[in-house]
């Protein structure tokens, strides 16, 4: 009987070691299921003026590391697995900013629409960070560095870091990771749009 118990125990431990810590793949989506409630933003709008209905938007993936968007840590705090995505980060952020601008009543044009819309604001976002650290909870972080160019005004560049801690991490699931990152992205975008006067 004892050998069987020992073997079963070993098999169970081996399975945990070999497979439970495998890489997770996240499908990035937007908007988050749980909408971010904005309290008073930390900064006042830096740009104001009559609302322009068109915004020319460009998004660049400017992350330093592009191989993973997060990590899972075990009970001892050791990094044991990577969070990965096959999705195009720049497209994910572009669609998210477009969604938020459309919600505010703006029409988004890609950069090729610039010549025919000289009165439009030009918003460029460089994605600096997209990362989720999974330990006890999901700590999603997104940092956008945004530049707003208004007609006849100096360009304004500001960085918008956002961190959202959500949910208890029982299994380090991909969907919960995606939700955490979407919430962080929403926070970053909404701070940015408020700062730039799009919500006035």
């Amino acid at each position: 009987m004892r050998p069987a118990v020992g073997i079963l125990l070993t098999l169970a431990l081996t399975q945990i070691a070999a497979c439970t810590y495998g890489s997770r793949y996240v499908e990035l989506s937007y908007p988050p299921q749980e909408q971010v409630e904005m309290s008073s933003p930390s900064t006042q709008p830096v740009a104001s003026g009559p609302r322009t209905h068109y915004v020319i938007l460009a998004v660049n993936d400017a992350r330093e590391t592009s191989d993973r968007i997060g990590n899972v840590r075990d009970g001892f705090g050791f990094d044991t697995a990577s969070i990965l995505t096959e999705d195009n980060i720049a497209v994910w952020v572009y669609d998210a900013v477009s969604f938020e601008l459309a919600r505010l009543g703006y029409q988004v044009l890609d950069q090729y629409g610039a010549s025919s819309n000289e009165s439009a604001n030009r918003l460029t976002a460089n994605v600096r960070k997209v990362y989720c650290d999974i330990y006890m909870v999901y700590d999603g972080e997104v940092t956008l560095q945004a530049t707003l160019e208004r007609p006849n005004q100096e360009p304004v560049t500001t960085e918008y870091p956002a961190k959202v801690s959500s949910g208890l991490s029982w299994a380090g699931s991909g969907s919960a990771t995606g939700e955490s990152l979407a919430q962080a992205l929403q926070t970053s975008i909404r701070n940015m749009l408020h700062d730039f006067g799009f919500t006035d």
Binding site: G6, L9, L13, A17, A18, S23, S66, T80, L84, Y112
Partner: protein, 260 residues
């Protein structure tokens, strides 16, 4: 009786040892991967709006390989927008010799799983698929110049199977940490390969500005003797397809004719 128990115990221990060492798969990033220099594309096609080059296909143990035991193919391509308006490439697919459509992926689990399905599908047709074999036409194309040799050190797994009936249980428990470490090392290796796959691949969609040329690195599960690659793209008017015929240049790829 005692001898039988001993033998069974030893066999189980050996199996456990191998389980721990092989973990979830046998792939890992090679330390001594060889860089490739692309001299000319294997083939180039174009329509009025888009030009596409297939530069090379990295296969298991072939020129440019960076992972041991890769169960996937890495297509190195370039695309140029010939038009005066932006183009978005939304999909790249490959069709194998049975005309089965294979989707691209950078997910190591998907690639391995889909490659296994392909192997099973071909087996049902009486064709043996083996990663990296065949493709003489590809190799003869001479599109790459290699630096150094292509010799890789492959670890040989060995293990002894001895012990007594009591020793099996004790040994198994004592071995558990070894197995766990082995499993974790294996898991970490696979994690590095998974990260490298994601890092190398070109995420879709890809936007091409007017006249812009971009490199595309697309991973597919094993596609034996592929017939064609399809690039799907959209412009302001419609969706279009550009087809790269690969029947000649990739003929016989992954088809094992050794037993035939």
């Amino acid at each position: 009786m005692r001898r039988t128990v001993l033998h069974t115990g030893a066999t189980i221990l050996s199996a456990l040892l191998l389980l721990g060492l092989t973990g979830c798969g046998g792939s890992k990033v090679l330390k001594d991967s060889e860089p490739v220099t692309l001299v000319k594309p294997l083939t180039t096609v174009s329509d009025q709006r888009l030009e596409a080059h297939l530069d090379w296909v990295i296969v298991r143990a072939g020129p440019g390989t960076w992972a041991k035991n890769a169960d996937w193919d890495e297509y190195l391509m370039r695309a140029r927008n010939l038009s005066d308006e932006p183009i978005r490439i939304t999909g790249v697919t490959v069709y194998d010799s049975l005309d089965t459509r294979l989707e691209s992926s950078a997910n190591i689990n998907n690639l391995i799983s889909m490659s296994k399905k392909t192997t099973t599908r071909y087996k049902a047709e009486g064709v043996k698929v083996k990663a990296g074999v065949g493709g003489e036409t590809l190799m003869a194309a001479g599109a790459v110049a290699l630096i150094g040799s292509q010799a890789y050190a492959i670890a040989v797994l060995t293990g002894s199977a001895t012990g007594s009936a009591a020793g099996v249980a004790v040994g198994a428990v004592v071995l558990a940490p070894v197995l766990i470490v082995g499993g974790m090392v294996q898991s970490k290796n696979k994690d590095w390969v998974a990260r490298e796959l994601v890092s190398r691949h070109t995420p879709l969609p890809v936007d091409l500005a007017p006249q812009e040329l971009q490199s595309l690195i697309i991973f597919f599960p094993l596609a034996p003797s592929p017939r064609r690659i399809e690039l799907v793209y959209v412009d302001s008017n419609d969706e279009h397809k550009l087809i790269i015929d690969t029947r000649e240049i990739l003929q016989g790829l992954h088809i094992d004719n050794a037993d035939q």
